[in-house]
Amino acid sequence: MPFVVKLGWSLVGVVAAIAYGLTIGGLIRKVMARIQGRIGPPVWQPFIDLGKVIFQRTATQHGVMFYLAPIFRAGGGMGLYLLVPVIIGVPALENFSFNGDLLLVMYFIFFGSLGMALGAAEAGHPHAPIGISRGLSQMTAYELPFALAMVALAAQVHSFSIREIVIAQQGSVLHWNLFANPLAAAAAFLAFLGMNMYSPFNIVGAPQEIPVGPPTEYNSKFLSLMMSGRAILAVAKIVLFMDLFLGGAHSLLEVFAKTLVIYFWSVFVGAVFPRFRTEQSIRFFLGWPTVAGLAGVLLVLVR
């Protein structure tokens, strides 16, 4: 496939992913509202929010890094999406996944958060570094079970390439890594909760304590880029998990169905649990999820 065509398809994919991410954000709000016994906003509410933020008439900025942070965030999300193949076998949807394997994907997740941390801190607001220190501490904690799960998966197929992992899961539902290596899947899905920074691990942006943490000083167009960045980052992560644990997808409908299931896992857990403190969440991740991850790796070594 010529490069320009591929670029075009990837662009379409990025826009579609942002739209999808915003839609599931709206869906989450509707579902949470229904759980709480109220009507809730319409599903397309995040689009309206994004439009309103874009159409604001004044904005303030604090310096060069302030500009760069939403760019890092959105760029990190888009880059991550471009590195994950959505449907193997359809070149239009494989994006640029031949450029790097799972390790690159893992480290690219950090690119966005690191950049956002830098830019948010430049505003000089003390709540930004408080939020960032909590967020980074949590990130290091959930990284251990996640790394163990990734290592287990890679060792199973002797490759870090996401394509190989997906191909190894074809055949039947029981070949999915969710069932083939349930311990690694358990570790990874528990780490996924931390990744999304959704309740119970949302101390990073606890609105009652530190006004949203890092994005405290962000407004109008910077905020719009951050919102879209968050949307596409979420979509990239759930597509990644779909490829790794639910056997990839063969059609767009399958993509939507599987990714929704993965995302709702974190929403339903979040609806039930209150927020953990930072040291509690760190100790949690270094406890049972790590044990599950270690057991998953052992399982692969023994087989």
Binding site: A33, I39, D49, G51, Q56, T216
Partner: protein, 215 residues
């Protein structure tokens, strides 16, 4: 429990005789040195933009007075304002609506002014309760203000003491209609008559230690 008990945290004390707040000079604040310029009121595609703004009002979570107690049922499940796209935001940088809920003490007015000026435009002020209209129950108090729109441009009043959540919903619905029709331009009025508003504010607030315009 921290294991490193031998670290003593240094105590930073401001130099003797200095203010508790940062001095206004030294380039810490932008306020006094920049001329305020109101952007043009007419804008392209106003209808569409106003529709977006009206359907996604973000309220600043700031309860200035006793009227805030009626805001809580408004947010929770029975009356639920989220179905209209409204949400509570914790910082003034990300909010569009400032609700002055009830009486406004002079002490609160100083903070409210700073919070209002830090909000990005377009922004709206809603006066909740009779105290914002004519002083209400506290009309003869030494410590509260009687007419809110001498100090801040108000776009919608919701009368009552306290107005029930249904009244609040009706008021917000009216505000949304006004925004969609392009009639709610309090923020523009504030920038154009800035000196008048500032003179009124300084008349009441005696311990003014902020810049004239808080960015």
């Amino acid at each position: 429990m921290a294991t490193t008990t031998k670290k003593k945290l240094p105590v930073f004390e401001p130099p003797a005789g200095s203010l508790a707040h940062a001095p206004l000079g030294q380039g810490c604040f932008l306020g006094e040195t920049e001329r305020l310029q109101a952007p043009k009121l007419k804008e392209a595609l106003a209808t569409i933009k106003n529709w977006f703004r009206a359907n996604s009002l973000w309220v600043m979570a700031y309860g200035t007075g006793c009227g805030a107690i009626e805001l809580r049922p408004l947010v929770t499940s029975r009356f639920d304002f989220e179905r209209f796209g409204m949400a509570m935001r914790p910082t003034s940088r990300q909010s569009n609506v400032l609700i002055i809920s009830g009486y406004l003490a002079v002490k609160s007015l100083k903070r409210v002014i700073r919070a209002y000026e830090q909000m990005p435009s377009p922004k709206w002020v809603v006066g909740l309760g009779s105290c914002t209209i004519n002083g209400g129950m506290y009309w003869d108090s030494y410590n509260t203000i009687n007419r809110l729109d001498l100090y801040l441009p108000v776009d919608m009043y919701i009368a009552g003491c306290m107005p029930r959540p249904e009244a609040l919903l009706a008021g917000f619905g009216d505000l949304m209609q006004r925004i969609k029709r392009g009639e709610a331009n309090g923020w523009h009025h504030y920038l154009e008559n800035f000196d008048w508003y500032k003179a009124n504010q300084k008349k009441v607030i005696t311990d003014w230690n902020m810049p004239d315009y808080n960015w």
